[in-house]
Amino acid sequence: MTNRGIGAGDVMNSDATSADIVLSVRNLKTQFKTRHGVVDAVADNSFDIRSGETVALVGESGSGKSVTALSVLHLLEETGSIANGEVIFDGRDITHLGEKAMRKVRGQEISMIFQDPATCLDPVFTVEHQLVEALTIHRSYDEAAAKDRALELLQRVGMPDPESRMDSYPHQLSGGQRQRVMIAMALALEPKLVIADEPTTALDVTVQAQILDLLRILQAEQGAAILFVTHDLGVVAEMADRVVVMYAGIAVEQGTVREVLKDPQHPYTEALLRSMPGRVAGTGERLTAIDGNVPSLFDMPDGCRFEPRCPHAMDRCRDELPDLISISDGRASRCWLRDESTVLTLSADAMTGATQ
């Protein structure tokens, strides 16, 4: 049992020195107090992000992907708190950092881009005011220098007609333009880590392509690490180097994007890919839906959380939640099918299923 269950750090590539690691989340557990009791929105999540790397957290509604991101930044609602685990940023444990120190981290070292820029930008201030404010508070720019820098930032994020846009209020901008302003603000302070929570979900597909392209270019220039939270595996395939797949509050699989999307090792990842219409497009094949629903946070199965919907479920799955089981460097799956004692008894069709 001891060599099967592994610490989160071991899951990641061993060739990387820990100095590269910008963010390390270990066994994160985030709970919310509700009227009906305490729920684990994130029950167990571990991953590392190295500098210049994009890691995607992917999952459906209620998987805990956004809560993981908000936990890292201490932006949880009042009823939520980190109950277990560690968040290590740039070698420093920030899990229980005080609000004052955390505010500094948020402004200067980690920035966030949200799904809906319309609600994040202040509607009563101009674009210029909001950019200048960020620069003067966190980077001791004087007013004039901040103004120049703000304009330069708008140019860099590809804002059309940046001079006149400086005087615009958020409602005068389109969704794509607002997201560009958000990105400009996020990059203004040259953070080591950018957390992007569904940054293109509210945008049309041609505008999404522009924004993803912009993020890629800016990352290449600045070398920031990106934690990309999304429900869209297509966006993952385009944007990320590595991916953590979440289901009902736990990380079920992780690895490089190519490995996970081409050769999923967890039955949930496999089933999720098979239910995507883009995958059977043009073949006339029928989609394989995942029967049933995501379990309620108030009524989680004791064992594996995917067990009630899993085509490969065994008795063991009902009773025991497996750990993340390492498959190879940086590759892990939280499934008893990967456990040595069960691998031998795997049925032939489960094998073909997992490798399709």
């Binding site: 459906e60 509604s61 059309p160 389109s174 969704g175 794509g176 333009q177 049309d204 597909v205 041609t206 505008v207 999404q208 392509a209 522009q210 993803l212 392209d213 429900h231 869209d232 595996l233 297509g234 966006v235 993952v236 395939a237 385009e238 994007v257 190519r258 999307l261 081409k262 089933a271 999720l272 890919l273 239910s275 995507m276 219409p277 883009g278 995958r279 059977v280 497009a281 043009g282 029928r286 989609l287 394989t288 839906a289 995942i290 029967d291 629903n293 995501v294």
Partner: protein, 338 residues
């Protein structure tokens, strides 16, 4: 049924609905006297046909007029101009009383399964609302019919007396489907019917809609922005941009061999889950600049010319005509490529 002296046009036997030059202009009112200062030309000359038992998808980005078109063909909105024929009969000049009879045969499923169901109504009441309005069943017959419908959409008799909040998003959308099926329609307008659902649930509902189509011979007007869904569900595709059709044709032809630069750009912008295809698409992507212009003041000439990668000076003056490039596959024949 075309024996009545109604405005009748010739129609292929398999055409269920024919939309001809549909226009919907919304007035923009300003000032104290609410004077009309302009119009939003949400739909501006749209024509297509929906075949019996087939799925036609209307696709396009926000503001392209796809939802408005869907509302107009059901006469939930009164179109400014143009005609809609259902089985050869005009729906625009029809009497109110007769429209009611037609409404039985035309139904809609909305995007948001949370706001489209009245939270105070039980499943039984929600699904049987149409049955009552059209006097189709009452008493035990009503309950039996609803139970049958629930069974068809993958719910059960046990759900009859539950309320919307007791269901998940996917189950609510199944109630929406059962509601639409209650009056035994021929055409269902699905307005972003699966867009709010998680992908694993979306697949369930898409398969359900496909099965029901085979079983009941339903036609769908499928309105969505999701091109992967379109390719899975639709037989034919109409691509819209700023209130007008830029391209229409059989689904696989549109996806494999798009003609119009906008269709090409739209298709190339869709992220693929296959890392190899994703890399290839990203490399060959036709990146469009800027956003969709406002439909209250659409660009002159070809409406796409402000974002078109191959626009010529001519494009801003000449309004392109729709031309059939291949049998059943037509596009706005823009000077920049045609």
């Amino acid at each position: 049924m075309s024996a009545v002296a109604e405005p009748v046009i010739e129609t292929d036997a398999d055409v269920l609905m024919r939309v001809v030059d549909l226009q919907m202009h919304f007035p923009i009112k300003r000032g104290l006297l609410q004077r009309t200062v302009g119009h939003v030309r949400a739909v501006d000359g749209v024509s297509f046909e929906i075949r019996k038992g087939k799925t036609l998808a209307l696709v396009g980005e926000s503001g392209c007029g796809k939802t408005t078109t869907g509302r107009c063909v059901l006469r939930l909105l009164e179109p400014t101009a143009g005609s809609v024929y259902f089985e050869g009969r005009s729906m625009v000049d029809i009497e109110r009383s007769e429209l009611r009879g037609l409404r039985k045969r035309l139904q809609i499923i909305f995007q948001d399964p949370f706001s489209s169901l009245d939270p105070r109504m039980s499943t039984l009441d929600l699904v049987s609302e149409g049955l009552e309005i059209h006097d189709m069943a009452s008493g035990q017959a009503r309950i039996d019919r609803v139970a049958e419908l629930l069974d068809m959409v993958g719910l059960s008799r046990r759900d009859l007396h539950k309320f919307p909040h007791q269901f998940s998003g996917g189950q609510r959308q199944r109630i929406g489907v059962a509601r639409a099926l209650a009056t035994d329609p021929d055409l269902i307008v699905c307005d972003e019917a699966v867009s709010a659902l998680d992908v694993s649930i979306q697949a369930q509902v898409l398969n359900l809609l496909k099965d029901l189509q085979t079983e009941l011979g339903l036609a769908y007007l499928f309105i969505t922005h999701d091109l992967n869904v379109v390719r899975y569900i639709a037989d034919e595709v109409v691509v819209m941009y700023l209130g007008q059709i830029v391209e229409q044709g059989p689904t696989e032809q549109i996806f494999n061999d798009p003609i119009h630069p906008y269709t090409k750009a739209l298709l190339s912008a869709v992220p693929s889950v296959d890392p190899d295809v994703a890399a290839e698409r990203a490399a060959n992507r036709v990146m469009l600049e800027g956003d969709v212009p406002s439909p209250s003041n659409p660009p002159s000439g070809c409406r796409f010319h402000t974002r078109c990668p191959n626009a010529t000076p001519e494009c801003s003056t000449v309004e392109p005509e729709i031309r059939e490039f291949r049998p059943g596959h037509s596009a706005a024949a823009c000077p920049c490529f045609a």
